[in-house]
Symmetry: C2
Subunit: 343 residues, 2 copies
């Protein structure tokens, strides 16, 4: 086991006292970066995900430019259903698209739980390569979608405002829905364990669509599966759970084996601390659109945010992924404000 030189992020996840909080940004390897756009012009989405050299290069791009305290492996949550023989394509103007969405128990039964080393080996190769490039300067985060969020795409067949077809499947065929959720969960657990073996230092589970469920339905269709993943992984690496819009479940989530919970910008830092009772590290939560403000405003907001969350048990981040139209200097102001922070 090697030692990470800048271990602020890992220490914050363990709840240790730090001189300043660590910082990274969700979707930090993304379209707001000119160097990412240069790669994007040459290679399509799945090529970027499936070519270890490209995924590794994209992962380290923002680190070179800004020096965040953690890198996150460039990939996509839909590589998991891909590995399960659910063939998503990227449709221009639509996004992820599935020709034959899953709508019947028969389809669920036929869906395999694959050997992830066989089907997702390219991700492990990308991790090894990225670790070499990072030279143990900072930790590397691996991620996966929550089973509910992956399920939403598999059943709806594409993005949606309400994911009503996914919900309909749950509400009218609950047994089949749970069978599919369990298969996604089993695949995700193997996948994240393989990522840890390959070298990631922490994992984050993204539940993008849990906030579309009522508290009761969230518990049944999302959280119980996220918790299985957390319980399977937490002995090996710190686990961060980010369930966007799920303020209502923070209390219950804080009582699990997670190291940290991501929060979005609709909850005040004070209330987020109250709901989680100081039990876990919190990560977030600036409105990504706020990076459109002048850099001076951004810096002030970051300082205020650290003041409100407190510098310990805290990871500075946005409340969701950075937007494509953010000027690079505004992203820099966000990172710099944290590095300049003095308690």
């Amino acid at each position: 086991m090697t030692t990470i030189k800048n271990d602020l992020f890992l220490r914050a996840l363990r709840g240790e006292t730090v001189s300043r909080p660590p910082v990274w940004m969700m979707r930090q390897a993304g379209r707001y970066l000119p160097e990412f756009m240069a790669i994007r012009e040459k290679y399509d989405f799945f090529t970027r995900c499936q070519t270890p050299e490209l995924a590794a290069e994209i992962t380290v791009q923002p680190i070179r430019r800004y020096g965040m305290d953690a890198a996150i492996l460039f990939s996509d949550i839909l590589v998991v259903p891909q590995a399960m023989n659910i063939p998503f394509e990227m449709k221009p103007g639509v996004g992820p698209f599935l020709q034959n969405p899953i709508r019947t128990a028969e389809q669920v039964e036929k869906t395999p739980v694959p050997d992830v080393h066989e089907t997702l080996g390219y991700v492990m190769d990308a991790i090894k390569l990225t670790k070499q490039m990072l030279e143990d300067e900072i930790p590397l985060i691996g991620f996966a979608g929550s089973p509910w969020t992956v399920f939403c795409y598999c059943v709806q067949g594409q993005g949606s405002k309400s994911f009503d077809r996914a919900k309909e499947f749950c509400f009218t065929q609950p047994e089949a829905a749970h069978m599919l959720l369990q298969k996604i969960t089993d695949t995700t657990i193997s996948y994240l364990k393989a990522k840890v073996e390959a070298g990631v230092n922490a994992v984050q589970i993204f539940d993008s669509w849990g906030g579309m469920l009522s508290p009761v339905d969230f518990r049944e269709f999302s959280w119980r599966y996220m918790e299985q993943i957390i319980n399977a992984l937490h002995d090996q690496v710190p686990v961060i759970a980010f369930a966007k819009g799920c303020w209502f479940a923070l209390e219950e989530m804080a009582n699990s084996n997670v190291s940290a919970l991501g929060v979005d910008w609709t909850i005040s830092p004070k209330l987020a601390r109250e709901f989680t009772g100081g039990k876990v590290t919190l990560q977030g939560n600036m409105d990504p659109s706020r990076l459109l403000s002048p850099p001076k405003t951004i810096k002030k907001m970051v300082r205020d945010m650290i003041g409100e969350f407190g510098k310990d048990k805290y990871v500075v981040n946005l409340g969701h992924g950075i937007l494509p139209n953010i000027p690079v200097d505004h992203a820099r102001a966000f990172i710099e404000a944290v590095k300049e922070y003095e308690a």
Copy 2:
């Protein structure tokens, strides 16, 4: 002043003790109804809004079929910017669309606060006609979008997942943004006052996009304008404010002059009562997708929901508009469960 025969809804808004809570459904005059679809095939969107006979007929359709305890005038939140010379069109596959979105202070300055009797007289005619058709059996609700929500469409120019252009306008040109919000507010106040004169018995303000803002930004860009409207109207009719996703502001909103607050399904009835401290009537909050469940399940959920909110100071409703793909018998189960309720 005439007396409404079934005044359950108005009594619930006043906080009086009732034998059972009243029920209506947001977007109850909508695409899930075959009789609405028949009209929709013949007349386009703005014709339906602007022809008093059509708007009145559409308004009473769901009442005839199900006998809700309140009707809500068929219209659209975009009739207000239309009246302000902001010419929205309905673009197939896109929805509301504005050729030249508002992005500069100059555009805001040129935007008029119109005489609503002149520009929106057709709405008042529709109200008078609907009142005749309802024969004072049940109350009629008039509505408007919140200034923030209307602003979102005017600046973004169309629907959006993040309304990032609308937010950018606020964060980079706050003075111009506030000027536009104030103009929308002034127009909306005159508009709702005219609706009350024409005969509506209550008004509801819909803030569909307030939940995209942080608590601090919500106060600055949405709530302060909603509150102006509430203060201008509450002496004349009960005012309901529904700010979707704005659980974080319920406490502050409950301290205003509203009669009732709408809540969506991401908050439990218990917590909604806690946040609002029993000060106001609550309205909501079943997940509209839950109407896809079998009718038996729907009825049980409605009974449980009434049990959790309590029968008084409560208006049974969905947590957002009914979806187009809800079977008519499922909508019936929702309404019937309330009517069959015995404390």
